[in-house]
Amino acid sequence: MPINVLLVDDSAVMRRMITRTLQLSGVPLGAVVPCANGAEALEALRVSRVDLALVDINMPVMDGEQFLDHVRADPRLAPLPVVIVSTESSPTRVQRLRQKGALFVHKPFTPELLRDTIHSLPGLAHDPAAPTPAPPGGDLDF
């Protein structure tokens, strides 16, 4: 069944890069819901059904950790798998985020690391028989 992904990052370039990685990862991708900060993401969760959230930390209005706290405090949203994708370098903060049930991918990351992290989530293990969708055409070498 296709999974819907909430993608929260204030950088449009990063959102595009993560979306492309998702498309190439072999995950059966449904809708990608893009948001520029935690407050937008909470609003999106009110009206959209999502199966996974990929969240930056340092964003205006509401940062990723505040967003995570809101999610975990809401019994309806608490089970949502959250992957933090951030430049955050404080081991204390990273540990705290992990204790709140989030996985962590450090920027800069390789697309393979993000793919493998997503596949490590329950129910999202890679199916080797599933073909990886080819990217949209364009200026390709092969």
Binding site: L24, E112, A134, L140, D141, F142
Partner: protein, 165 residues
């Protein structure tokens, strides 16, 4: 397990594509060079490439050996696989090599291994290819890479020890 014939050697700056399920392709002495193994399990096509350098534009007379360079070798390898029925979305891609050429990172003046990896990642990203497994980097690490065409298994020999990739 399929019994393999004698290994077919892929030389430095060369690539070989095979559809023989009894064949093992092998390339030796991957230091800063990169080995790229690709396999389409449905079409039964496997290929192995031994890249030397990132960019062919430094060598206008080297166009007759596209396998030397990332920007010419990778497209040539994939296109040859397509010619034998492989499809990009089924290809399993594994990479090894790209070591530093000195014991100390800062003493590797040309950073060929790192530049090869950057160029390869850029090429793959642009063309929508993710690497399934890799064993790259390290200092003065020399790797031998083998691809079993029948199974798609890749085996690395590093410091005399074989291990699957």
């Amino acid at each position: 397990m399929i019994a393999c014939t004698a290994p077919r050697v892929v030389g430095v700056g060369e690539f070989v594509v095979s559809t023989s399920d009894r064949e093992r392709l092998v390339t030796y002495a991957l230091g800063s060079c990169l080995g790229v193994a690709v396999h389409d399990p449905v079409a039964g096509v496997g290929g192995l490439l031994h890249l030397m350098l990132p960019d062919s534009t430094i060598d206008p007379v080297g166009v007759d050996q596209p396998g030397r360079y990332v920007d010419t070798g990778v497209p040539a390898l994939f296109r040859e696989c397509y010619r034998h029925g492989a499809r990009k979305e089924r290809m399993v891609v594994k990479v090894a090599g790209g070591a530093f050429s000195n014991r100390v990172f800062d003493h590797d003046a040309f950073q060929v291994g790192r530049r090869n990896l950057v160029a390869l990642r850029r090429m793959f990203w642009k063309n929508g290819v993710l690497i399934h497994a890799e064993d790259v980097g390290g200092c003065l690490t020399v790797r031998t890479m083998s691809l079993f065409v029948g199974s798609g298994d890749v085996v690395l020999r590093v410091n005399g020890v074989d291990r699957p990739l």
